[in-house]
């Protein structure tokens, strides 16, 4: 997933893409093999070990892995020019929703998939099958802080916990956190945010700590800032914090009021390997393969039985671990697809003032 990687290659690809998209930047791929595109990086490696290799071994279907940076524009260019060389793509939820509306993906036939309804609810989407869960959490350096924050209200409390705060530069997550800090219950956040007063309220709450915020852009920044002492607490992606913990930093995660999201498998419209793609999704959604994936990287499995196959220490790091789900909020992708642009514009204007 994009957030876990330094998004620079995304940026530089954006440059390359800018003018050239009309030329159709399709990566040529073998006509026979199933082409599976993920976000690469550590997650891509875990997928190689847990899904790609065993799948080819078991079914004999050749598989061409690849990676990209989540740009819908590439898939759009592919579908519009009829030159579809990708079959199965890992998608983040907003792009999945947008792409689904645009008809860039084959709608999922759940009968054909044969998974029943075992996966967690959020894994079922019109055009995608959830594959793992990741979270945006409050993280802090336990060595640097007196006491332990437990909520976003504590994050806003610069008296009790002095120091700079880190937040992602953007409206998404930031507005939700602000409302929760202002006392809105997790399950009412989007109801409040759908009203003009709710948005005003979130920005007013942000005004309170504006001078204390250092905005991050890349997912690698928050753990680095925590370790170097640049910030006292920050929002961060759980996978990034887990990686820093493994390197020996005493970073802590507050799971309460975290916001979780999923990555999905989606079949590109016009793919010539739809059967193989379904077989792959089914294979990658089994408890065994899911556990094999999550044992390598702290993204929560979507199959509830997979958690039981992990050891206790690993299971505790999963966003889908039962205790971690208490007080957590699922991102409302539809809300951000509908209101994202206007809120991001207002956020940019607000933050630059």
């Amino acid at each position: 997933m994009t957030q876990q990687r330094f998004p620079l290659s995304r940026i530089s690809r954006g440059i390359a893409l800018g003018g050239l998209v009309s030329l159709g930047l399709a990566v040529s791929a073998s006509a026979q093999a199933l082409t599976v595109i993920s976000f690469g990086g550590a997650s891509g490696e875990a997928m190689q070990n847990a899904y790609y290799g065993p799948f080819s071994e078991e079914t004999g279907i050749r598989l061409t892995p690849g990676d990209y940076n989540g740009e819908l524009s590439r898939i759009r260019a592919m579908v519009e020019t009829g030159n579809v060389s990708w079959d199965l793509v890992e998608m983040e939820s907003p792009e999945l929703v947008r792409g689904c509306f645009e008809g860039l993906f084959e709608p999922i036939d759940w009968q054909r998939l044969g998974l029943g309804s075992v996966l967690i609810d959020a894994a079922f989407d019109e055009c995608g099958v959830g594959t793992f869960v990741w979270s945006t959490v409050l993280a802090y350096n336990a060595d640097a802080l007196d006491g332990a924050p437990t909520s976003w209200a504590d994050f806003w409390d610069v008296e009790q916990f002095p120091g700079t705060r880190g937040l992602r530069r953007g409206a998404k997550y930031t507005l939700e956190f602000a409302l929760m800090a202002d006392g809105v219950a997790a399950d009412e956040v989007y109801d409040v945010l759908r009203t003009d007063e709710g948005v005003d309220r979130a920005f007013a709450k942000l005004d309170e700590i504006k001078d204390h915020i250092q905005w991050w852009e890349a997912g690698a920044q928050p753990p680095q800032w925590l370790v170097s002492g640049d910030v006292a607490m920050t929002s961060a992606y759980n996978g990034r914090i887990a990686a820093a913990q493994e390197e020996g930093s005493n970073l802590e995660i507050v799971w309460n009021e975290s916001i979780y999201d999923l990555d999905y498998w989606a079949i590109v419209a016009g793919s010539e390997h739809v059967d193989e793609a379904y077989a792959f999704i089914e294979f990658a959604s089994q408890p065994e393969t899911q556990a094999a994936y999550s044992s390598q990287i702290p993204y929560g499995p979507v199959h509830p039985e997979a958690i039981a196959q992990l050891d206790e220490a690993q299971a505790r790091r999963m966003p889908t671990y039962e205790e971690n789900m208490v007080g957590a909020l699922a991102i409302d992708t539809g809300f951000w697809v509908d209101h994202g642009e206007e809120l991001e514009q207002r956020f940019s204007a607000w933050a630059a003032r």
Binding site: F6, L8, R10, I11, S12, G14, L17, G18, G19, L20, S22, L23, G70, E71, L72, S73, R76, V79, P94, R98, G99, C100, F101, E102, G103, L104, R169, Q214, W215, E217, A218, S228, G229, D230, A269, G334, V337, D338, H339, G340, E341, E342, E344, Q345, R346, S348, A349, W350, A351, A352, R353
Partner: protein
């Protein structure tokens, strides 16, 4: 030339024939020249003219509704905007909505309509689900009642007015939005609400940052290039390698290195603290200062190289002559040497300025929210929200601003050169 020679070398031929021969030779030469230039011209057309033209078109393109729902668009264009559109238009709308799922048409129109009002996407989705089956509708179906029953919003004039605004095949909404303007309900151009005003300040800061970086590069690059051009070859080659060294390092590595150097607990702050020059760490990164540091470092060679190549060709004897004729050394430098470097200064500044205008990797990483430049928002609209209309409008405006500045600059530099000669 050669044609003339062949012509004069065959004096036996009459004059009229000579003219024709000359013309033929000229034509052949022209064809050869065109043939030689053709590959490059073709390359430029394919790689520059077509994509740029495409981008300019996308900034006003409004064909979503017209291509997905041609009958609805046609009907709405003739609707006077009071009450509800006629039954024929509503029936066409329902039929076309039903078909819009094919080929992603629904996605395109709902994305477009959402720019008018963010409730259209869910409205269209719900309506699509609630439409009666194809065989249950006939010519006598009351579409006002049917649609209003699915969602009362269809009974409101405002809902249809919103769709009507997307019916023309071109729109100025993206270009207006890029200038913090919008059209009010009655079509007047007005400024957007104050809390949403963003892009004018983004354009302004883009020019300020690019201009600032150019000036700093010139101030640092000019003495450096002068040094390189006047030192003995052995030393200057050594220094040249140092100038070029950053070219061999990835841009991202250099940007990341600046973060490590400049952050609160970075090397710079720690040394300053250690020497007692400051009491608490300075904020040197994630703000404008960091952007200038990183961008100047990256762009400096683009200033030094053109300056160096021009200065290398300036004979030192001019300055010596000026001094020997009684000029103050500074006057000799300023009035004799500097004017000869103008073409290098012009090339270097325009190169650095135009490259700086398009920067966004560096500001995205070492800047704060108030340091993001136009290209950051172009990338946001292209990759994150897929709003290519906005991306194209911002890009087109940046292109126009850049061209205007270039023209002004070109005239200024030419005038300077004229004065010199």
């Amino acid at each position: 030339m050669s044609a003339n020679q062949t012509a004069t070398m065959s004096p036996a031929k009459p004059g009229g024939n000579l003219k024709a021969q000359l013309r033929r030779a000229e034509r052949l030469r022209k064809l050869k020249a065109i043939g030689l230039v053709a590959p490059l011209a073709l390359f430029l057309i394919v790689v520059f003219v077509v994509p740029i033209g495409n981008m300019l078109w996308r900034s006003v393109d409004n064909t979503e509704l017209d291509s997905v729902m041609p009958l609805t668009a046609e009907g709405l264009r003739h609707w006077d905007g009071s009450g509800l559109p006629d039954e024929a238009t509503l029936a066409a709308f329902a039929a076309e909505l039903r078909d819009s799922r094919q080929g992603g048409g629904l996605g395109r129109i709902s994305r477009r309509l959402n720019y008018e009002d963010s409730r259209y996407r869910s409205l269209l989705m719900n309506t699509l689900r609630g439409l009666p089956a194809v065989d249950a509708v006939g010519p006598d179906t009351d579409w006002v009642a049917t649609l209003t029953e699915i969602d009362p919003a269809w009974g409101e004039t405002e809902t249809w007015l919103g769709i009507q605004r997307t019916a023309p095949t071109t729109t100025d909404r993206y270009l207006l939005a890029s200038l913090d303007l919008e059209r009010s309900a009655d079509g007047e151009i007005q400024r957007v609400a104050e809390r949403d005003r963003l892009y004018l300040s983004v354009f302004q800061r883009t020019l300020v940052i690019a201009g600032g970086v150019t000036l700093i590069c010139l101030a640092l690059g000019f003495p450096l290039a002068y040094l390189l051009a006047t030192l003995p070859a052995k030393t200057s080659n050594m220094l040249m390698i140092l100038v070029l060294l950053p070219f061999w390092t990835s841009l991202l590595v250099r940007t990341a290195a600046w973060i490590i150097l400049l952050q609160s607990n970075g090397l710079v702050n720690q040394s300053l603290l250690f020497t007692g020059l400051i009491d608490s760490p300075l904020q040197l990164v994630f703000n404008r200062i960091g952007v200038f540091f990183a961008m100047v470092h990256i762009l400096l060679p683009f200033m030094v190289l053109p300056l160096y190549s021009v200065m290398k060709g300036i004979s030192p004897s001019y300055q010596r002559a000026a001094v020997s004729l009684g000029a103050h050394p500074f006057a000799a430098f300023w009035q004799v040497y500097v004017p000869q470097t103008i073409s290098g200064v012009a090339a270097g500044t325009i190169l650095v300025f135009i490259m700086a205008l398009g920067y966004y990797i560096t500001p995205a990483l070492v800047g704060g929210p108030a340091d993001q430049m136009v290209s950051y928002y172009v990338a946001y609209y292209t990759n994150t929200t897929n709003n290519w209309g906005m991306a194209a409008a911002l890009g087109s405006l940046l292109l126009v601003v850049t061209l205007l500045l270039y023209l002004v600059y070109h005239r200024l530099v030419n005038r300077k050169q004229l004065i010199r000669s």
